[in-house]
Symmetry: C2
Subunit: 514 residues, 2 copies
Amino acid sequence: MSRSEISRAARLLMRHTGLFKLGPECSSAAVVGTRSKFTHSKEGKVLHPDLLNAAVLKTQYAVRGELYLRAEELRKAGKEIIFTNVGNPHALGAKPMTFPRQVASLCIAPFLLERPDVETLFPKDAITRAKKILAAFKGGVGAYTDSRGNPLIREEVAKFFEERDGVPSNPDHVFLTDGASVAVRMCLNAVIRDENDGILVPIPQYPLYSASIQLYGGTLVPYYLDETKNWALSIDSLKKSVKDARAQGKHVRAMVFINPGNPTGQCLSEENLKELIKFAYDEQIVLMADEVYQENVYQDERPFISARKVMHAMGEPYRSSVELVSFHTVSKGAGGECGLRGGCMEMTNIHKGAIEEIYKCASINLSPNTMGQISISCLVNPPKPGDDSYEQYNKERTEELASLRRRAHMVTNAFNNLEGVTCNFTEGAMYSFPRIRLPPKAIEAAKKMGKAPDVLYCLRLLEATGISTVPGSGFGQEEGTFHLRTTILPREEVMNTFVSKFSDFHQKFIKEFS
Amino acid sequence: MSRSEISRAARLLMRHTGLFKLGPECSSAAVVGTRSKFTHSKEGKVLHPDLLNAAVLKTQYAVRGELYLRAEELRKAGKEIIFTNVGNPHALGAKPMTFPRQVASLCIAPFLLERPDVETLFPKDAITRAKKILAAFKGGVGAYTDSRGNPLIREEVAKFFEERDGVPSNPDHVFLTDGASVAVRMCLNAVIRDENDGILVPIPQYPLYSASIQLYGGTLVPYYLDETKNWALSIDSLKKSVKDARAQGKHVRAMVFINPGNPTGQCLSEENLKELIKFAYDEQIVLMADEVYQENVYQDERPFISARKVMHAMGEPYRSSVELVSFHTVSKGAGGECGLRGGCMEMTNIHKGAIEEIYKCASINLSPNTMGQISISCLVNPPKPGDDSYEQYNKERTEELASLRRRAHMVTNAFNNLEGVTCNFTEGAMYSFPRIRLPPKAIEAAKKMGKAPDVLYCLRLLEATGISTVPGSGFGQEEGTFHLRTTILPREEVMNTFVSKFSDFHQKFIKEFS
């Protein structure tokens, strides 16, 4: 068979059957017929970047991409870096909440519990909680738990979802994971069968989604949030995306939405969620509700309401049929315990057999980490009125959320005061996503350097000020618009410095390229 | 195009090019042309077990399979279960080592460090270590670290590898992970491009490997360990496996070996490792050295020696060219800290570009958990002579390893005393893998029930005694032989009960089916 005969037969087959797919080695014409035949490079390397899994190679992950790597270099060289590239509150000075840390330290050091003076060291409710957890963890925190997480903590999580939504939850439909990212990835890995399976993802989006969909070989089906309407989620835009994807032969199987939004910060209204659930029902699409910022809300018009609660309030046929996975985490909220890697998901209306398949895959890693599980326990079951720690816990939580609300205003106001910059108010989550109108000369200069214009802007910002951000191109943006994502996490006492450094840079940048 | 024309064209294409592969939906003839067209089941489910990723569906994971699920059911129903199905020492009563837990509790509760009486609560070296770690973790344990893990701890790991092997290691070639399983999976995901890529895996093997290779769409190329020679790894058998796989068009790209062996317990000699490294060099295969049981050695003829050390001692061309990834963990050894999920890998002679690709994939999950990282720090950099905790640390470690050595003898002796059972001595790791000669009637009975004969045996053992094991079929075994894996982890004080329960059951089982 000649090369051209092969190509023709392949095209025919694909057109007529949809059953064949090009191997990843065909992604570039230059390597057709060669790459897959090699097991090692000229230098003799098997693990050579040209010879790895094509899905790995094409995966992009912006949050820790070029900007982050350059920031790390500068940091090593002694430059002071303000890391606002990732929602990592403790790294910028947020303090951990006391109660969860007390419980955690007692659980990992049970010999403290045996001290006769333990009650002078720890409040009673932390001691009681640690004892309860240790009684439920056979072998303590050093033993593997069930691969879905410890049953006691899954019960606490189920109770949290029940109280939050007014609807019972089954602990066997709750998984605890090493951060919510792992839970998201488990679902995506199960639902994506091949590149014909499409997942609806908001644009701009959190790159976990684009990266994981690439890695698992599916297709990201974008739906655009409307920047002119405060990043609103429009059902018409969703329907158009599904229609377009289907016209291209894609099976749209799941939809991700992020509420409050990352990187956009918008909070969805109950009405909007209803439409979205109706849409999922009509189109038979699994809903993946990324609600990890549910505590982080900085306006009062649209308080957080979960998709799960809305769906149940809608009654039949929605409440019993829409497939919904809800994600939560200890990394965000007032606690911001990113490093402990505690995440969870709750599955509503998911087929028992599918849950079993996901359980099986979770089993390969044996067990989520126990300290993350314990931090989830403290998140979903915090001190209650009357408990020794209640007042302090509440104070710490309220103050941190109030401070974040102030900072949301400080950051977005500062952006809106800059020439050529507009920024929707950060209604929730931890980020601002300003639109930067770059001068044509800056765009030209970037092109000459082979960089996206917003990458150039962010790199220059980093070099000039030490402020580490992520260019909008990492999240997706409407063609011809440029953004960046920064967190609102610098502490209030340094926020003025942050703002003035940013403003100075911006003015100089615009001047230089005008 | 008719169905038969399509098939013919497909076969031709595959034969002539190797460039096309069947989509996973073609794995069963019954669903050709149908499954991929459905996005939801008759009941309207998207996440339906018939409609998930085919690689997820075909993945098998025995350690938490049918036996484990049944054991969980019995436990919930009130039966006392002895979980020897997984190497989980704390669950069976092993105590955590004190020093690492002291350091961990101070790191997660830094307010303890601020107490004026902290030195009455914790030894000085634990305090110093915690302060050093906290100084290196900007934001403490609640902040994400670099996606490869904290730089200080990666330096400590590199130093450990340097001292262990007499060869420097680069901290940038060290990754910290949520358990060693995650590290193994990162490598497999990068190296496997499609089903034509083969990974050499010992049989019997630890199911992490078979499951992950299935999930990533590669091909497991088995090489058989020789039970009659104490589970020896024979290079001739390896060469035969590679030859056979290549004859079937497979690219053999990597080789896993487990030393000390899991589930087989054998320890490799330096001579054997030399042959193995030469083999990897000759065949241009990446070596994946699963050395997580390096502390768990119960004989003195063949103390643990790392592949990394042997390879460097062999000189050129091996030391500068064989691609080697070495894995280690806090879950095993004397500490047995399974629940904290602290793992690491060291990459020797791996292409910089490949390391960057793996780094990028690690970034999608942002950061390994910090408490696992701290436990790795204590493992690789334990108290030194002269430190306050040295004596206690050493005593705890030595006693636990000595007790494990006694238990290795107790368990294997007990098996060898049973009629129709033979068991190689557990030279290392945490498992015994006895061969059970099942009566023909038992084999028949199992076939009637649609179960593997060793599954029947293990289920009956579980029901009768509460002892939870894993059937040999989950690890792979020579056709017609039957085994089971049990850990040697029941504490010495309950080992006699364990042994007598097992013996009673075995005798009754043999009698019943004779």
